[in-house]
């Protein structure tokens, strides 16, 4: 599987070699007509001959040169235009009006029409084709570059550079241009591909440059003699250019495909009961590591019914990973050990179906991103299987008006959403709640309110809460116990109960 990703690159290099030096080695001049017509493949004519007695193999090699030349030149010109115009349009608002206006017009005009129109009377020479296609193929990607530049322009490091006295040209070149590399690469390859196809299409319509052989012109000649399909001659006349064309464009397409991470094998999980863990939330000898880098090592702890336990640690210490592991969200391959809720392991296949939002619930880090922006809150409440009355009751319990249920998330303030999220977490009266840094994005006044609300509801419903935070003050203030993650281990902090 891994080697496959190198294949397109290898094929393209081969094509390039053939295009550059191939014509020097072909056995016949591609226009030479000395052989008989429609010869079958033989030692002299590897792929037989065409109607005019031209050697198909030689034509194919020359066709490779033509196609690649066209593809690469158009891709180069067009990419250059895309970058220059995109930078200008994104960076200077005055240029933007002009460039974007032109782009809009070109985008609306059907390309093929213009190409047909122009090629029809310029005669489809290679130079004209390169100019026309380059001029027509920049708008779409120019817009992408432009929007990237527009956001980059606002980025802090660009602003910083401006404040250090960097001029526009310097900033465009040094700071913005390097960011365009992936786009430029994509654009170059895709344009190369579509240019090759367009040339073949035009040549197929008889609008190519007759002074050179191209795959498209070979196909045009072949298809203007449809009776080659009545016997086997089409096999060596039509198939070779079709196959090369397909292989080349396919390779170009796949060149952009990134290597996929190797598949995580589903392991058969064995679940052993944890001693003394029939009740409560038990974390047993958990090890987590990503790409062989250990996140936590041999972590075991328990959260008892009705208890508030905080998990603290500096950013990057693995708190959130731990939270996700405890909710059974990590793929089985990256962690070992076991986590059980009242004896039900999260490793169990149907844990999610049976226990999510019933036994356990989760309070997401950022309330705004937890709600689906396109669905009304009502829908997002009702889908956990409650009635409208219960939903109304739940939001009213967190001192929200029931009108909020008819709103979209973007119509609510951050505070309202945080409350709604808490309401949602408690709506099915779960036994366990994991809250992953629910306060880190909040302002002090709101944070106080939300934490108070959370603690109040935990106590009221006798729920176990695992509260994950980097805010030591809050952790110490509300918890029965505080666990801290440091150097991949979890230690219990000493608390004095007031």
């Amino acid at each position: 599987m891994q080697k496959i990703y190198k294949l397109p690159a290898i094929i393209i290099v081969l094509f390039l070699i053939v295009a550059f030096i191939g014509p020097a080695f072909v056995p016949y001049d591609p226009f030479s007509y000395d052989a008989a017509a429609y010869l079958e493949p033989s030692a002299e004519h590897w792929l037989g001959t065409s109607q005019l007695g031209q050697d198909i193999f030689s034509q194919l090699i020359y066709g490779t040169r033509t196609s690649l030349l066209i593809g690469i030149s158009i891709a180069a010109c067009s990419t250059f235009l895309v970058v220059v115009l995109g930078l200008l349009a994104g960076y200077f608002s005055l240029a933007d009006k002009v460039i974007n206006g032109v782009a809009n017009i070109l985008l609306v005009l059907p390309d093929l029409l213009l190409i047909l129109l122009i090629v029809a009377f310029t005669g489809g020479g290679i130079e004209q084709l390169i100019i026309i296609l380059s001029l027509l193929s920049w708008p779409a990607y120019m817009r992408i570059v432009r929007s990237v530049v527009l956001t980059l322009k606002e980025r802090d490091f660009v602003k910083a550079s401006q404040s250090f006295g960097g001029n526009h040209f310097y900033i465009l070149r040094a700071h913005i241009l390097p960011h365009l590399r992936p786009i430029v690469k994509t654009k170059f390859i895709l344009t190369c591909k579509s240019a090759i196809l367009t040339e073949a299409g035009l040549a197929f319509l008889g609008l190519g440059d007759p002074n050179v052989v191209s795959w498209g012109s070979m196909l045009n000649v072949a298809f203007s003699q449809p009776t080659i399909f009545l016997d086997s001659s089409w096999v060596w006349i039509v198939l070779p250019p079709v196959i090369l064309l397909a292989v080349l464009t396919l390779s170009l397409t796949f060149l952009l495909e990134e290597k996929q991470p190797s598949k995580v094998r589903m392991k058969k999980v064995e679940i052993h009961p944890i001693q003394g863990a029939e009740k409560d939330l038990s974390v047993h000898q958990v090890n987590i590591s990503f790409d062989k880098k250990a996140i936590v090592n041999d972590v075991s702890f328990q959260v008892k019914r009705g208890e508030i336990v905080s998990l603290i640690g500096p950013s990057g210490s693995g708190k959130t990973t731990m939270a996700r592991a405890m909710y059974g969200l990590l793929p089985a391959g990256v962690w070992s050990g076991d986590i059980q809720y009242d004896g039900h392991s999260v490793k169990n296949q149907d844990f999610a179906n049976r226990h999510y939002w019933k036994t356990c619930a989760f309070i997401y880090q950022d309330a705004r991103s937890a709600f689906n922006p396109l669905l009304k809150l009502k829908e997002q409440f009702l889908e956990v299987g409650v009635t409208m009355e219960q939903a109304i009751q739940a939001v009213e319990e967190v001192s929200l008006s029931k009108d909020i249920l008819d709103k979209f998330p973007h119509e609510c303030s951050g505070g309202m959403l945080s409350r709604a999220l808490i309401a949602l977490a408690f709506i099915n009266k779960p036994d366990f709640i994991i809250a992953d840094e629910p306060t880190s994005a909040l302002d002090p006044i709101l944070k106080k309110e939300i934490v108070q609300l959370l603690v109040e509801k935990v106590r009221a419903y006798n729920v176990s809460l695992l509260f994950i935070t980097h805010d030591l003050d809050v952790a110490y203030a509300i918890s029965d116990r505080v666990l801290s993650i440091e150097n991949q281990h979890v230690e219990e902090e000493k608390l004095c109960h007031a």
Binding site: F164, H175, H179, P444, H470, A477
Partner: protein
């Protein structure tokens, strides 16, 4: 050194700043406190000249040699991800046509002072921790010898321990570089010990200002009280619990 008089700013119909006036004296550490949406960042933008005020004026009373520098909230975004830290740190000096060697020496000296290992210079931003990046951000800003440093929520993405470290680093530098600092935050507890003065911003109005101790201990405005109460709420409760 810097005077701000009757500053107003509106975006469309939305009035963000209402008649804001304050000043910053030489070598002073001023803290601007307020919740998100209160207009803190707008003030910073106006000071930096990135936006024009709708009304009011900003004037320098002392002659401003090197102007001011801005340190960004998010250390991840303030460095070009494609550059090594060395390239990024050299940038302001090279743009001012300093010789390369001098520049490097200057940076090395600063890195030492900040307690940052020199290997970091060879690294890309993604390979450094948030605290390291933020300290290098401060170094980069100081390389221009600014007379005013604006630090806009520079620690809000960091954990409390790192926050403390950075604030003390900044304070240290403030005295050795003889500059003023405008520190923008919503976390009072972090700057208690370092700030000379606090300005409290609510909904685009400065509701209270004064010496740090005075304001924190005897807040006059109800909003200040509420804010202080909320900020210190957990701290107080924690103190009761921890041995």
């Amino acid at each position: 050194m810097l005077e701000v008089r009757n500053l107003c700013k509106s975006f469309g119909n939305h009035l963000v700043l209402k008649d804001v006036s304050f000043d910053i004296r030489n070598e002073e550490f001023v803290c601007l406190l307020g919740e998100s949406g209160s207009g803190k960042s707008t003030i910073a933008e106006l000071l930096m000249g990135l936006n024009k005020p709708t009304q009011g004026e900003i004037s320098w009373t002392s002659d401003k040699k090197n102007g001011m520098q801005y340190i960004y909230q998010n250390p991840d975004r303030s460095f070009n991800p494609f550059w090594t830290m060395k390239q990024s740190l050299m940038e302001p000096l090279l743009l001012k046509k300093h010789p390369k060697k001098d520049a490097l020496e200057k940076i090395t000296a600063m890195m030492d002072k900040a307690g940052l290992p020199l290997e970091l210079l060879k690294k890309k931003p993604s390979q450094c921790s948030g605290g390291q990046k933020q300290r290098m951000g401060i170094i980069r800003a100081l390389l221009c010898n600014p007379s005013l440093l604006i630090a806009d929520e520079i620690t809000s993405a960091l954990d409390p321990q790192t926050e403390q470290m950075i604030i003390h680093f900044l304070k240290e530098l403030q005295s050795s570089y003889q500059m003023s600092v405008l520190y923008i935050t919503h976390r009072i507890q972090a700057i208690e010990d370092v700030a000379d003065r606090v300005l409290i911003l609510e909904n685009g109005c400065i509701v209270e200002s004064g010496q740090t101790k005075e304001v924190l201990q005897k807040p006059k405005h109800p909003y200040t009280k509420r804010l202080l109460d909320a900020c210190l709420y957990f701290e107080k409760r924690k103190k009761k619990k921890v041995v």
